[in-house]
Amino acid sequence: MKTLDTKQNILDDAGFAYSIDRMAYFNRKSKKIFSVEYVEDHDEDDLERAIREDTGGEEWKFYFNSGEPPESVRREIEASLGRG
């Protein structure tokens, strides 16, 4: 229970929104996206480290357990997250 609250709080505090369609937490400002699987399988320290990580903010950074998605999928996700 505590872990669940803490991770959600970390993501909320860092300005991450939840995408129902992608089942992922994303932040358009820092251009980072965390899958629910990634959030589930990494502890709070890892999550905070990833949120703080300097990625340049030019391109979307995907934090997925399965690694970077294939290019075509990446483009589709970026296009859907770029909206709004």
């Binding site: 229970m1 872990t3 669940l4 609250d5 991770k7 959600q8 993501l11 939840y18 995408s19 129902i20 369609d21 992608r22 089942m23 992922a24 899958s35 629910v36 699987e37 959030v39 997925f64 357990n65 399965s66 998605p69 294939p70 075509s72 999928v73 589709e76 996700i77």
Partner: protein, 208 residues
């Protein structure tokens, strides 16, 4: 005239309707087998005890959505449609065994595990807490379509049904809400309350 390119979803819809009769056969067979195997228990229930066996065939759009959600990216690779098949899903045909009170669950589970040997256990857990016993495997109706059965407390199973039909069924894409950590916590609160209700009921029924 150039042929219109078929999407991954188009191909999967075609596959679904080709498989549909076989999925139905698996569901019917699995339901009949489970009802038969459970006769020793269902025939000896006390007045307040309940046992229900429910069977369903996954709808086409739910199956597509499940397959899409199966990928961590929640997206199909458009240039590789051949890598996707609905036969990779375990629950195209599903049976749910609901029991009340929950003290009957272990007995039901043991009986079905003895009868359906070789089926793979895939328990439903949330944050390490067991919510339902789940298994998948092949029955005699098909060597292509796997079936799935769950053994779950009646109140929790009925809550899932209501939650599914009221919230997620109208739009399969809304099922992604269930992945939100805050939503999961609220769901866990409900499950905990239902479990406590059953335990209290059971304790009082035993005293009677």
């Amino acid at each position: 005239m150039a042929e219109v390119e078929r999407t991954v979803e188009d191909r999967l819809r075609e596959e679904y309707f080709t498989l549909r009769p076989e999925i139905r056969r698996v569901a019917d067979r699995l339901e009949a087998e489970i009802r038969y195997h459970l006769l020793p228990i269902s025939g000896g229930l006390q007045g307040h005890e309940r046992l229900a066996v429910k069977c369903r065939v996954k709808s086409c759009e739910s199956a597509l959505e499940k397959l899409r959600r199966h990928q961590e990216e929640r997206a199909f690779q458009r240039n590789r449609p051949e890598i996707y098949t609905l036969t990779s899903l375990n629950d195209l045909a599903g049976v749910r065994v609901l029991a009340f009170p929950q003290s009957r669950l272990a007995e039901i589970d043991q009986l079905l595990r003895e009868e359906l040997r070789g089926w793979t256990a895939d328990p439903v857990e949330d944050d390490g807490e067991l919510q339902a016993l789940k298994y998948y495997g092949y029955c005699q109706a098909s060597d292509k379509i796997r079936g799935e059965y769950q053994v779950v407390s009646m109140l929790i199973g009925l809550f899932w049904e209501v939650e599914h039909s009221a919230i997620y069924k109208p739009d399969a894409r809304l099922s992604g809400i269930a992945g939100h950590r805050g939503m999961r916590e609220r769901t866990r609160d409900v499950v905990k309350a239902l479990r406590a209700f059953e335990e209290q009921f059971e304790a009082l029924a035993r005293q009677d």
